[in-house]
């Protein structure tokens, strides 16, 4: 912390370096000092306490991938992590870096927002918490102030009768997403929708998108395929993709966004124990 306040914006924090070093090599940024987080003890952990999971910011993606707790009870994280990069990348990359790098194509943030994650941030004036959903301010921009760093990610365990799904569409296995979608739904006793969280990433806007309007559509209703389709439509109306994206055109992103949201919702519904009528394959 002292180093951070001493060097201010001349310094950059480095965790796994899999984003930072690429940016430095491409001369997008040129920090004078790098402050490594990896030697700080007590920043790397996966701890389950009752219905919450605490993940230290420098926990590597490989550690998340191999965690039994996450695999069993936070399958959404597990699924998102497995889609991210290659084993070599996951060995180095950290969860904190994936969040703080703040690119809209990152894979973990949609999954974490779907699980209602909050962040614990430390800085010169002590600690504060913030929902992950509010953390992003734009492409490569977060709401961290100078001198602050991300310490911990806290995730809620999905309640009973919940289902989750994560789908990523990309050009190759190690590419960033064209579109990625994370959803979590929870059903009432009567199979109506009690809660839905629909989060879309993959450069469909300067930050990921959570579609409250689409979620609202589902609330209290039986999730029939027609309704799910409509929710997917709504969820994908507000995209504001860069027109020059290398990976796909804005029109394509919107079109497959609808498909992926629909599929994710149906998959989550199935996992939550709801009946999917008129089920399609996959």
């Amino acid at each position: 912390m002292a180093l951070l306040s001493r060097y201010g914006d001349k310094a950059k924090l480095i965790a796994g370096g899999t984003d930072l070093l690429v940016d430095m090599k491409n001369e997008k940024i040129n920090p004078q000092y790098l402050i490594s987080l990896m030697k700080i003890t007590g920043l790397s952990y996966i701890a389950e306490e009752g219905d919450v999971l605490r993940i230290g910011a420098t926990t590597t993606l490989r550690e998340l991938e191999e965690s039994q707790i996450i695999e069993k009870r936070y399958g959404l994280i597990s699924k998102a992590v497995k889609c991210l990069g290659t084993v070599q990348i996951r060995n180095m990359a950290t969860i904190g870096g994936n969040i703080c790098n703040a690119v809209p194509s990152a894979d973990l943030p949609p999954a974490l927002v779907a699980l209602n994650a909050t962040l614990k941030i430390v800085g010169p004036n002590g600690e504060r918490t913030m929902p992950l959903e509010d953390f992003f301010a734009g492409v490569k921009k977060t709401k961290l102030s100078v001198g602050e760093l991300l310490k911990e990610i806290i995730v809620e365990r999905p309640p009973a009768r919940s289902g989750t799904a994560f789908i990523k569409l990309s050009r190759t296995a190690e590419d960033l997403a064209i579109v990625n979608v994370a959803v979590r739904i929870t059903l009432n006793e009567d199979d109506t929708c009690r809660e839905a969280r629909i989060v879309i990433g993959g450069g469909v806007g300067p930050t990921l998108i959570r579609s409250r309007e689409a979620e609202k559509l589902l609330l209290g209703k039986k999730m029939e395929e027609e309704l799910v389709k409509r929710a997917a439509e709504v969820a994908c109306t507000g995209f504001s993709c860069r027109p020059t994206s290398i990976r796909a055109s804005p029109e394509y992103k919107a079109e497959v966004g609808r498909v992926l949201v629909k599929r994710a919702l149906l998959e989550a519904l199935k996992k939550a124990g709801g009946v999917v009528e008129d089920d399609e394959r996959n």
């Binding site: 491409n26 290659t86 050009r171 296995a173």
Partner: protein, 776 residues
């Protein structure tokens, strides 16, 4: 077929352990104390004249030793294409010119104490550009009034070949056999398609690299990542206006070429700096430079019209091709020529018309790339064959079998055209294509899968299967040549001096195997020394899939010469006529007396005892014809009709490459080709902005397949023996890649009934095609 001792065995690559241990084998693995670093300034404009260039500030920067631009280098029209001499490519390049013709063209270069200083100096160069209108569409480039990309008076074709730069038109080929119009009239069904392939880069992991320095005698030594060391020497000498004796080219290990290093892309500038500064100079491309400023694949627009009769006979093939060579024309004519000459002999159709044009545009410079026009031609014909089979309701397997050339047959195309002009009479000396089709189809489960997927349940995810056959003629007949030198050592081992250029494919190993087989010695007794133009004799280098075949023939000839000398010495020693003697297990045995001499005894006697001489020989061979390699390829795909995503689930390739000298290495070539091909078919793509700038010159944005993307592959090496090849071998470097685009297109068609005629088959393009088909 013959029994072999070392040939046909998958021995380990002779350099495998060294590579695995990270020994300093590559161009950029050495360094010199006083070495300078060169960097190049690239054009930001697609088309512009340089009114003036001011390098004074760059020159004044401390640490800068030289700046090169059009003002201070000789203006030597040449081609960067590493081809025989005189080259069939136009002389339309200059080390530096006062005109730039694509975004990424050379403007100037700096050599400095460090790369950082060189980079800094580049930013100090002031260029005054007169921006000219640019043309990116090859069809528009041919129109009257289009911007003329090569308006310089000194560009020319050295050979008497078509060349009309005033209309951006740099090659034209017309071939006609039989009566194509009558063939079309006689057809029951005529099918027409326009098929387009796209730009792509080779993505060799080692970038284009060069380190040059002066030897004590003042000659320039160039250590470079080249596929064509002798051509490199010739072209460097040409550009520097030196006699060849002043240039020595050393080819160390190469980290992949695939055609991109069959061009002189960095060597001329690097060597020029050494000449100017008298210092060692290093010039190594960055990855973006490899993408933009080395070479790429020719995109072609192919309009094809074919006729088919109800009985399954193809009655006519008409092909009209426009090939985009980009800003310069290395290989522009020969790639186009191969689209006809090396592709169409596959088809047993007497009535063929081929009209091809290659055109300059202000886009990336195309050149040699694995497949070399045959890939493009096969893309078009592979689709047409599938469409014809479909139209008459015949299983593609039967349709291909019926319409492809067989052993002993000839094609009118052979004599009508070779890569560079009139062709050579030849017939097909060996052809196991029918076996390839049968074995491939069986291993793949063709019949069952076709049946199963015909009846698959509705749903957004569809599966399908497709197949294609390919032929690829290796070498450039009558022009390509190879020489090999071997000498015997006291212990009975041999130095094998070759200029065949192992670029990773393994010819050092394969040629050692051939030599060892020919003299019946163990592999470890062959010390192979690849390419140093001061030491190893002339060879064409690594291209046209020709090394195993042609250099292999030269190795056998050399071994025969050596054998004669060994038997002569042995005859003297044993006092028996040479006819009684034969080679056996690194020795000579008399069939009469049963006496045996070891190679070591014979070598020592020749060197030290009597009638002393060095047992050594150099022999050469040139290519008499194009050996024909065949493949049959089968793909199973899954198409997501809602996202357009295509996944290849299984890919089977059955290959007739004659004797596989080293089966593992041959399989490696096949699997490498298939992965190369699938990656090209599904994801690899250059994205340009409206000014012709590449937007994705990095592995981050230009995606190629990596390990997790690779589907299940199966390679079948079908036994066969080519009487013209070394121990029956035929080429294998390129042929398998030719078939991937159409095989996948055919499988997609089988899965969803939508025909993809434009590559790559990205999710977005597939989805668009589905939508167009549904008429939305």
């Amino acid at each position: 077929m013959r029994e072999f001792k070392i040939v046909g065995k998958s021995v380990k690559k002779v350099d495998a352990a060294l590579l695995a241990r990270g020994k300093p084998l590559f161009t950029d693995d050495v360094t010199f104390e006083d070495m300078l670093h060169a960097r190049i300034l690239w054009s930001p404009h697609a088309h512009a004249r340089i009114r003036d260039i001011d390098t004074s500030e760059a020159e004044a920067l401390p640490g800068v030793h030289a700046v090169l631009c059009y003002k201070n280098v000789p203006r030597v029209p040449h081609t960067s294409a590493g081809q025989g001499w005189p080259e069939p490519s136009p002389y339309d390049m200059f080390m530096f010119d006062n005109k730039v013709r694509y975004v990424g063209d050379r403007v100037a270069a700096v050599a400095a104490e460090s790369e950082e200083i060189a980079e800094k100096a580049l930013r100090l160069i002031k260029v005054d550009y007169e921006v000219l209108p640019a043309v990116f569409d090859p069809e528009k480039a041919m129109e009257e009034g289009a911007p003329v990309i090569h308006d310089e008076p000194d560009c020319r074709q050295v050979l008497p070949l078509f060349y009309d730069p005033k209309h951006n038109h740099c090659a034209h080929i017309e071939v006609k056999t039989g009566d194509p119009d009558r063939g079309l009239n006689e057809a029951d069904i005529v099918i027409e398609h326009t098929i387009k392939n796209h730009y792509a880069q080779h993505c060799a992991l080692e970038p284009h690299s060069c380190i040059s320095y002066l030897d004590p005698m003042g000659r320039i030594v160039v250590r470079c990542s080249t596929q064509v060391p002798y051509y490199a020497r010739r072209i460097i000498a040409q550009c520097l206006q030196l006699p060849e004796r002043m240039v020595r080219v050393i080819k160390p290990r190469i980290g992949g070429g695939f055609g991109s290093k069959q061009e002189i892309v960095v060597e001329d500038v690097c060597a020029m700096f050494t000449l100017r500064t008298r210092r060692p100079v290093r010039l190594v491309f960055t990855r973006p430079e490899v993408f933009v400023s080395s070479r790429t694949r020719h995109p072609m627009i192919m309009r094809v019209k074919t006729g088919v009769k109800r009985d399954g006979t193809v009655s006519a093939i008409k092909m009209r091709v426009i090939s985009n060579t980009g800003a310069y024309g290395p290989h522009c004519m020969t790639v186009l020529g191969s689209t006809c000459a090396k592709t169409l002999p596959l088809y047993r159709c007497p009535n063929i018309e081929f009209i091809g044009d290659t055109v300059y545009t202000n886009l990336l410079n195309a050149g040699a790339y694995r497949g070399y026009g045959v890939l493009q031609g096969t893309f078009a014909m592979g689709i047409m064959m599938d469409e014809m089979a479909h139209a008459i309701g015949m299983d593609p397997v039967d349709f291909w079998k019926k319409n492809t050339i067989r052993v002993g047959e000839t094609s009118p195309i052979f004599s009508a055209l070779s890569e560079i002009g009139k062709g050579a009479e030849q017939k097909v000396d060996s052809c196991a294509l029918p076996e390839c089709i049968d074995q491939g189809a069986a291993a793949f489960g063709w019949k069952e899968k076709r049946e199963r997927y015909r009846n698959q349940p509705d749903g957004p995810i569809r599966r399908g299967v497709g197949m294609v056959c390919t032929v690829h003629g290796g070498t450039v007949a009558l022009l390509d040549a190879s020489s090999v030198t071997a000498k015997m050592n006291e212990d009975g081992s041999f130095n094998l001096l070759i200029s065949a250029s192992d670029v990773g494919g393994g010819c050092d190993t394969v040629l050692s195997q051939i030599f060892a087989e020919a003299l019946d010695i163990p592999l470890e007794d062959v010390i192979v020394y690849p390419t140093d133009t001061d030491v190893t004799p002339y060879d064409k280098g690594a291209y046209a899939s020709g090394t195993t075949y042609l250099s292999g023939l030269a190795v056998i000839k050399t071994a025969e010469e050596i054998k004669k000398q060994i038997l002569k010495v042995a005859a003297e020693m044993l006092n028996e006529p040479p006819e009684n003697l034969r080679l056996e297990k690194k020795g000579v045995v008399s069939t009469k007396s049963g006496k045996r001499l070891e190679f070591g005894q014979i070598a020592k006697r020749a060197m030290y005892s009597k009638n002393q001489f060095q047992i050594a020989a150099t022999a050469s061979e040139y290519s008499h014809l194009h050996p024909q390699t065949f493949t049959a390829q089968f793909a199973e795909v899954e198409v997501d009709t809602e996202t357009g995503q295509v996944k290849v689930l299984y890919y089977v390739t059955a290959v007739d490459c004659g004797t596989a000298i080293n089966p593992t290495l041959a399989e490696g070539q096949v699997e490498g080709s298939i992965i190369n091909g699938i990656s090209y078919a599904l994801t690899e793509e250059f994205i340009f902005d409206e000014n012709g700038r590449v937007l994705n010159p990095s592995f981050r944005d230009y995606k190629i397949f990596s390990a997790p993307d690779i589907p299940k592959l199966k390679t079948i090496l079908v036994p066969s023996y080519d009487p013209t090849g070394p121990f029956g071998a035929k080429p294998i470097g390129e042929p398998a890649m030719d078939g991937v685009l159409p095989t996948i297109s055919n499988a997609i068609y089988n899965a969803i009934g939508v025909r993809l005629t434009e590559s790559p088959f990205t999710p977005e393009r597939v989805l668009k095609a589905i939508r167009e088909k549904r008429g939305r």
